[in-house]
């Protein structure tokens, strides 16, 4: 099933979150937006957290590195990392091609939902990106 970028939530720092419910628990699948990946260009390295790491919204949980620069990845939500996409760092070219499906980075079990209200919908995020030029 293909994820629709128009239906995701976005952080100002360019991570996307796809929130779904499993067994009464809210789970956010998190990735990096196509815009950010395009801006970063020529990705060479990605550092991911361990399963079990507890993150709060806005906290750094990993980093992605291009030829020129290192960019931190910030968690858009608060909760516990329950799954990490371990194949991603060795397939960064596929992240380029498919940031919303193959390109998922971590899944986080939400500890509270308050942080969701600070995220943008796709239209608001699109506006931020077009203003950034």
């Amino acid at each position: 099933m293909s994820r629709d970028p128009a239906k995701l939530l976005y952080a100002e720092s360019h991570e996307w979150a796809d929130v779904s419910e499993q067994d009464g628990q809210k789970i956010a699948t998190i990735g990096v937006s196509a815009f950010a990946i395009e801006q970063l260009n020529d990705l060479v390295y990605m550092d991911l957290p361990e399963v079990g790491k507890v993150v709060s919204a806005g906290e750094e949980f990993g980093e992605v590195e291009s030829v020129k620069a290192v960019s931190p990845l910030y968690s858009p939500v608060s909760g516990e990392v329950i799954e990490v996409h371990t194949e991603l760092p060795d397939n960064l070219d596929k992240l380029n091609e498919d940031p919303y499906n193959f390109g998922w980075v971590v899944k986080v079990k939400l500890s509270d939902e308050a942080s969701l209200s600070t995220l943008m919908d796709a239209a608001a995020y699109q506006k931020q990106c077009s203003e950034a030029g």
């Binding site: 020529d42 390295y45 020129k68 760092p89």
Partner: protein
């Protein structure tokens, strides 16, 4: 004062509109707005290694010395002898302070105009342009026959680098650049417009650098791109320029070189002539050469994929800090990270290092410089 300006004072090169029309990402660099990349640093890098890439390097300073005493003035300034340098020769040298610290690394060419007038042209780093002009100005007063003129604004500079650069561009100039030896230059013409062609570069590839009048820059640039269209010539930005020079282990001012670093430590003894001459800094450098430098520039390969960057501490195998990375990043040609660093001299021959990459110690093995040598 340096020309590292704020957003309101940034200069544009004569090729600025071309870069923007080509979709370049422009960044402030040494007081100029410069293209860092057009499409991808890696593809521009690879084009240079396999075909040829064009770089706008108009931000670099071009300073001309005319008149009796120019050679003596430049001999005072430079670690390299200029007196006796034949017409058509280019030399790499350093300008040092009295303590032997590097103020800039430069190229000096000895040129002759079609009317027979000989002069010297010095190319300096953009970031050091103002500092060097101020350093030289009082010295010029000691050589009344010398006129120093800043040609930077009146001209543009284009580097054409790659294995196909010379072959494709052979017929574009009145003088076939394949007849120029490495580190030689001459004044010629392209479609009746004057151009200085120099068989030099900053990528580790064969190729040449051109200096043209500012008003001719776009035409020369487009002619070369067109001539190399079928061979895959591409415009490349400062991003690729940096990864290319890093693979070739060429020092970059502000990274491997600065006023706290001497050329001996930097591995640039080849560019210091002491025999039968003195220059600014020669006493201090002679002493460093005799005693041996306290630290030296080395190359290393960090294990894994994570690049070590400038500023990462270098540790010995036991974990003690013994140096620092000055340039580091992924090598597109070698497909693994590379790093240049200064380490304490007693560790220069260690068989293993560690690099502290933002809190994680990564094993790094030493490797001879350069990382890449053209086939």
């Amino acid at each position: 004062m340096t020309s590292t300006g704020t957003a309101t004072t940034l200069s544009k090169t004569p090729l600025d509109a071309w870069h923007r029309a080509a979709g370049a990402k422009m960044v402030p660099f040494a007081g100029y707005e410069m293209p860092i990349q057009y499409s991808s640093i890696v593809s521009e890098h690879q084009a240079c290694r396999s075909s040829a890439a064009l770089f706008d390097v108009s931000h670099m300073g071009r300073i001309r010395f005319d008149g009796e005493g120019s050679e003596q003035l430049l001999d005072r300034l430079l670690t390299r002898r200029v007196t006796g340098m034949e017409v058509g020769r280019v030399r790499y040298g350093l300008i040092c302070n009295e303590a032997g610290g590097v103020l800039d690394d430069v190229l000096v060419s000895h040129l002759e105009t079609p009317s027979g007038q000989r002069y010297h042209l010095m190319v300096v780093n953009a970031s050091n342009h103002d500092k060097i002009v101020q350093w030289i100005t009082p010295l010029v007063a000691d050589f009344p026959g010398v006129t120093m003129s800043d040609r930077t604004q009146l001209t543009a500079m284009i580097a054409v680098q790659g294995p196909k650069a010379i072959e494709v561009c052979k017929k574009l100039f009145s003088f076939d650049p394949s007849r120029l030896k490495y580190y030689h230059a001459r004044i010629t013409e392209q479609f009746k417009k004057p151009v200085i062609v120099s068989r030099t570069g900053y990528t580790g590839e064969d190729g040449f650098e051109l200096i043209v009048r500012a008003e001719d820059a776009n035409r020369v640039w487009e002619n070369i791109l067109l001539a190399g269209r079928d061979e895959g010539f591409t415009a490349a930005g400062l991003g690729a320029r940096d990864t290319l020079r890093m693979e070739a282990a060429m020092p970059l001012y502000g990274h491997e070189l600065d006023e706290a670093t001497d050329p001996i430590s930097a591995g640039l003894s080849f560019a210091c002539n002491f025999k039968d001459r003195t220059f600014i800094g020669s006493d201090a450098l002679g002493k460093i050469k005799a005693d041996g430098p306290s630290r030296v520039r080395v190359g290393m390969i960090p294990e894994g994929k994570r690049p070590a960057r400038e500023g990462c501490p270098v540790l010995d195998a036991a974990g003690k800090t013994i140096g620092v990375v000055t340039s580091g990043g992924p090598s597109p040609t070698l497909a693994h990270p590379i790093a240049m660093a200064y380490v304490d001299t007693e560790h220069a021959s260690d068989s293993e290092f560690q690099i502290d990459i933002r809190g994680k110690a990564v094993r790094a093995v030493p490797t001879p410089l350069p990382f890449y040598k053209r086939p």
